[in-house]
C-alpha cells in the first residue's frame, strides 16, 4: 500500500483530476466575483449552472455540435443573469432571497426539461482533450497541466482576463466604484444600474458555461441536480478568495484538490468512511472562512440596492 501511496501515476492522476475539477468552480466563482464587485449577491448560481448544463447537453445531444451547445448554455446563463439583475437592480428586491428563487427555478426547470425531453440519462462525447505540443510532453507537468480540453484551459485563462478587466480597465474601475460607493459613482455620471446589469449578465453567462463544462466537457452526462450544490460552493469561494480573481483561483484549486484527494484516498483504500471524505471540502471551507473573514473587506455596497436621493 505504501508503494501505491507514493506511486507517481496515481499522484499525477490526482493532480490532473484536481485541475479538471477546478474548471466549473473557476467559471462560476469568477462570474459571481464580477457581480459581487459591483455590489450584487447572486445566490442563484447553482440554478443557473443547472440550466446551462442542461441546455448545453440537450443541444449537443440533438445536434452533435459542441460549440452550439456551449453557445446556447452561455445565452441561457446570460438570460437568467438578466432576470436576476431585473429583480435585484430594477425592483430592488432582497438579493439573497431572489437568488434562492432563481436556484429553485433552475433546479426544478432543468429537471422538468430533462424528464420531458430526454427521459433517461444519456451520454455525449464532450470536448476532446487538446495536448499542447511540446508542453504536454514534459514529464509529470505535461499530463497535469497541458493535456486538458478547451474549457479547462478557458477557465484558467479567465483568471488573468478577469483580473485585467477589474483592475486595469475603465470598465473595471466603474465596476469597483459601483460596488464600493454607488452614490459617488452615480454623481460622476456612471450608470450604476447599467454597470450592475452588465456584471450580472456576464456573470450569468460564465455560470452557464460552468454548467456546460460539467455536462459537455468533464462528465458528459446530464441528470437530475447534476451540480449537487457546486454553485453554492462557488459563492463561498468568492468570499474565500477575497473578491479577487487570484483568490478565486486559489480557492477553486484548493477546493478541487481536496476533493481529488478524498477520491484518491478512497481509491487507494485508506479506511476513512467516504461520507467523511466528501465532508472534508465543506469543513475546510468553513474553517478557512473563519480564519479569513475578518481580514478581507467586502465591497461596501454589497447586497444593498441603490436608489438615487436615498441616504
Amino acid at each position: 500500500m505504501i508503494a501505491q501511496l507514493f506511486s507517481l501515476t496515481t499522484l499525477i492522476g490526482v493532480l490532473t483530476a484536481g485541475i479538471r475539477l477546478a474548471t466549473p468552480y473557476l467559471y462560476a466563482t469568477i462570474g459571481e466575483t464580477l457581480g459581487q464587485r459591483s455590489g450584487l449577491v447572486n445566490l442563484g448560481v447553482d440554478g443557473i449552472m443547472l440550466m446551462g448544463a442542461y441546455a448545453a447537453f440537450f443541444v449537443t445531444f440533438k445536434t452533435g455540435n459542441l460549440v452550439l451547445g456551449l453557445l446556447v448554455a452561455t445565452m441561457v446563463g446570460g438570460l437568467l443573469g438578466l432576470v436576476m439583475a431585473f429583480f435585484s437592480v430594477t425592483l430592488r428586491a432582497e438579493q439573497g432571497i431572489t437568488g434562492i428563487g432563481v436556484y429553485l427555478f433552475g433546479l426544478g426547470m432543468s429537471n422538468l426539461l430533462f424528464r420531458k425531453t430526454l427521459g433517461t440519462v444519456e451520454t455525449v462525447s464532450g470536448f476532446p482533450p487538446i495536448h499542447i505540443p511540446f508542453l504536454s510532453d514534459i514529464p509529470v507537468l505535461g499530463p497535469i497541466f497541458f493535456s486538458h480540453n478547451i474549457l479547462v484551459y478557458g477557465a484558467f485563462a479567465l483568471v488573468p482576463v478577469s483580473w485585467f478587466l477589474l483592475n486595469k480597465t475603465t470598465l473595471g474601475l466603474k465596476i469597483r466604484a459601483v460596488g464600493d460607493n454607488p452614490k459617488a459613482a452615480d454623481s460622476l455620471g456612471v450608470s450604476v444600474a447599467g454597470v450592475r446589469y452588465f456584471t450580472e449578465i456576464v456573470g450569468g453567462m460564465l455560470e452557464g458555461i460552468a454548467g456546460a463544462s460539467l455536462s459537455i466537457a468533464l462528465l458528459n452526462v446530464f441528470q437530475e441536480n447534476l451540480t449537487s450544490g457546486m454553485g453554492f460552493i462557488a459563492v463561498a469561494l468568492v468570499y474565500f478568495g477575497g473578491w479577487r480573481s487570484v483568490g478565486a483561483l486559489a480557492g477553486a484549486i484548493l477546493f478541487s484538490m481536496v476533493n481529488a484527494l478524498q477520491l484518491w484516498l478512497q481509491v487507494i483504500g485508506i479506511r476513512i468512511p467516504p461520507d467523511f471524505a466528501i465532508m472534508m471540502p465543506y469543513v475546510l471551507t468553513i474553517v478557512v472562512l473563519a480564519f479569513t473573514a475578518q481580514r478581507v473587506r467586502a465591497p461596501a455596497a454589497l447586497s444593498k440596492p441603490f436608489e438615487r436621493g436615498e441616504g
Partner: protein, 367 residues
C-alpha cells in the same frame, strides 16, 4: 363633521392595507400564469393540470390530511425563518437543521425504545430541538465572533449534516435486519410504537401539526410581546441604531440563528416521530426533507415573515407539493414543475415588495 372625516380616513387605510397585505397572493397568481405558459409549451392543458393539483391537495379527507402533513415541516422551518430573518440573519440552513434534529431524535428513539411514550416522546422532541439549536448555533457563533457570512456557513452546514446523516445511516444506526439480510439499505429500524405521535385516525395527520400551530402562536408572542423578541426585531430593522441603544447586536444575531435552528430541528424530530417512524437517506438532503428546508423559507416569506401568516402559507405550499403528485399522475408533468413554480413564486413575491415599500414611503411623505 370632524368625527366623520376621522371615520372616513380610518376606513380607507384599512381597505388599503388589506389590499397591500395580499400582494404575495397577486405575485402567486402571476407565477401560476407563467407556470401555465410553461405547461402550454410542454403541450399540457394548464387548466387540467391545475385542477388535478387542486383535487389532489384538497379533494378528499385523506388528501387534505396529506396536505397538512406536508405543511407541517414547512411551518416548523418557516417559524425559525421568521425569527432569523426578523433578526436580520439570512438562515439558509433549514435542510441541515431538519436533518440534525431528525438524526438526534432517531438516535434517542432507537436507544431508549423500552421507555414509555409519555417519557420518550418529549425527550426525543427536546433532543431534536437542541440538535437544531446547536446546528444553527455553529453558524451563529461563526457569525458573531468570526464575522463569517451566515448564508455561506449555513449552506456548508447543510452539506456537512447530510454527509453525517449518510454516515450514521450506513453505519452505526443502520437497521440490524438490513445488515443481517445483507441488503444494506441505508435506513434505521422502525422505532418502537411507543414513540409514535398520536394520530388522527384514519389519516396520516399526526399531533405534530397541532404542535406546529401552537408554536406559531408562541413565536408570535415571543417576537412581539417579549423584550428579547423586541430586541431581535430591532437588531434586524436597524443594527446601528440597536447598537447605539446598547443592544449587543452580535449576541442577538447569534440567538436568532440558534432559535431558528432549534425550531427546524424540532421539525425534523416531528417528521421521524409523527410520519416516517424511521430515518432513511437516498444520499441527498432532499431524500429525507423533501426540500422542506428551502420551501419553509418560501412559506415564511410568503407569510410576510409573520408566524401566523406562515400557517396559511405553509398549507398553500403543502398543497402544492401534494397536488403535484396528483398532477404528475393525471397529466404526466414531472413534480419538479412545482420546484420551478416555487422558485417563480419566491422571485415574484420579493419582487413585488417594491410596491409595498413605495407605498410606505408615500405614507411617510404625507404624514
Amino acid at each position: 363633521m370632524h368625527k366623520g372625516v376621522a371615520r372616513g380616513t380610518r376606513f380607507r387605510p384599512f381597505i388599503g392595507s388589506l389590499f397591500w397585505a395580499l400582494t404575495p397572493l397577486y405575485a402567486t397568481v402571476l407565477a401560476l400564469l407563467v407556470g401555465a405558459v410553461m405547461l402550454l409549451l410542454l403541450g399540457v392543458n394548464p387548466l387540467q393540470a391545475y385542477s388535478a393539483m387542486v383535487s389532489g391537495a384538497f379533494g378528499s379527507s385523506n388528501a387534505l390530511a396529506d396536505t397538512l402533513v406536508k405543511a407541517t415541516p414547512l411551518l416548523f422551518v418557516g417559524l425559525g425563518i421568521c425569527i432569523a430573518f426578523r433578526g436580520g440573519v439570512l438562515n439558509i440552513g433549514g435542510e441541515g437543521q431538519l436533518v440534525a434534529g431528525a438524526v438526534a431524535a432517531t438516535a434517542v428513539a432507537l436507544s431508549l425504545s423500552h421507555w414509555p411514550g409519555w417519557a420518550i416522546i418529549p425527550l426525543c422532541l427536546t433532543v431534536g430541538f437542541l440538535a437544531g439549536a446547536i446546528w444553527g448555533g455553529i453558524a451563529g457563533v461563526l457569525k458573531a465572533y468570526l464575522n463569517v457570512n451566515e448564508i455561506l456557513s449555513t449552506i456548508m452546514l447543510n452539506m456537512i449534516a447530510v454527509q453525517g446523516m449518510n454516515f450514521l445511516l450506513r453505519g452505526p444506526l443502520m437497521d440490524p435486519m438490513q445488515v443481517e439480510a445483507g441488503s444494506f439499505i441505508p435506513q434505521t429500524a422502525r422505532f418502537s410504537v411507543t414513540t409514535d405521535l398520536p394520530r388522527l385516525v384514519p389519516t396520516r395527520l399526526h399531533a405534530g401539526t397541532a404542535l406546529a400551530v401552537l408554536l406559531a402562536v408562541l413565536v408570535y408572542i415571543f417576537l412581539w410581546r417579549t423584550t428579547i423578541g423586541y430586541r431581535i426585531r430591532a437588531v434586524g430593522l436597524n443594527p446601528d441604531a440597536s447598537r447605539a441603544a446598547g443592544i449587543n447586536v452580535e449576541r442577538y444575531m447569534m440567538l436568532s440563528l440558534i432559535l431558528g435552528g432549534a425550531l427546524a430541528g424540532l421539525g425534523g424530530a416531528v417528521q421521524v416521530l409523527g410520519l416516517h417512524h424511521r430515518m432513511f437517506t437516498d444520499g441527498s438532503a432532499t431524500g429525507f426533507t423533501g426540500g422542506a428546508g428551502f420551501n419553509g423559507i418560501v412559506a415564511a416569506l410568503f407569510g410576510k415573515l409573520h408566524p401566523l401568516g406562515t400557517i396559511p402559507a405553509s398549507i398553500l405550499f403543502g398543497a402544492l407539493i401534494v397536488g403535484a403528485n396528483q398532477m404528475q399522475r393525471a397529466v404526466q408533468v414531472p413534480s419538479s414543475f412545482i420546484t420551478a413554480l416555487n422558485g417563480l413564486v419566491v422571485v415574484f413575491v420579493v419582487g413585488s415588495d417594491i410596491l409595498s415599500r413605495r407605498r410606505a414611503r408615500r405614507a411617510v411623505g404625507q404624514a
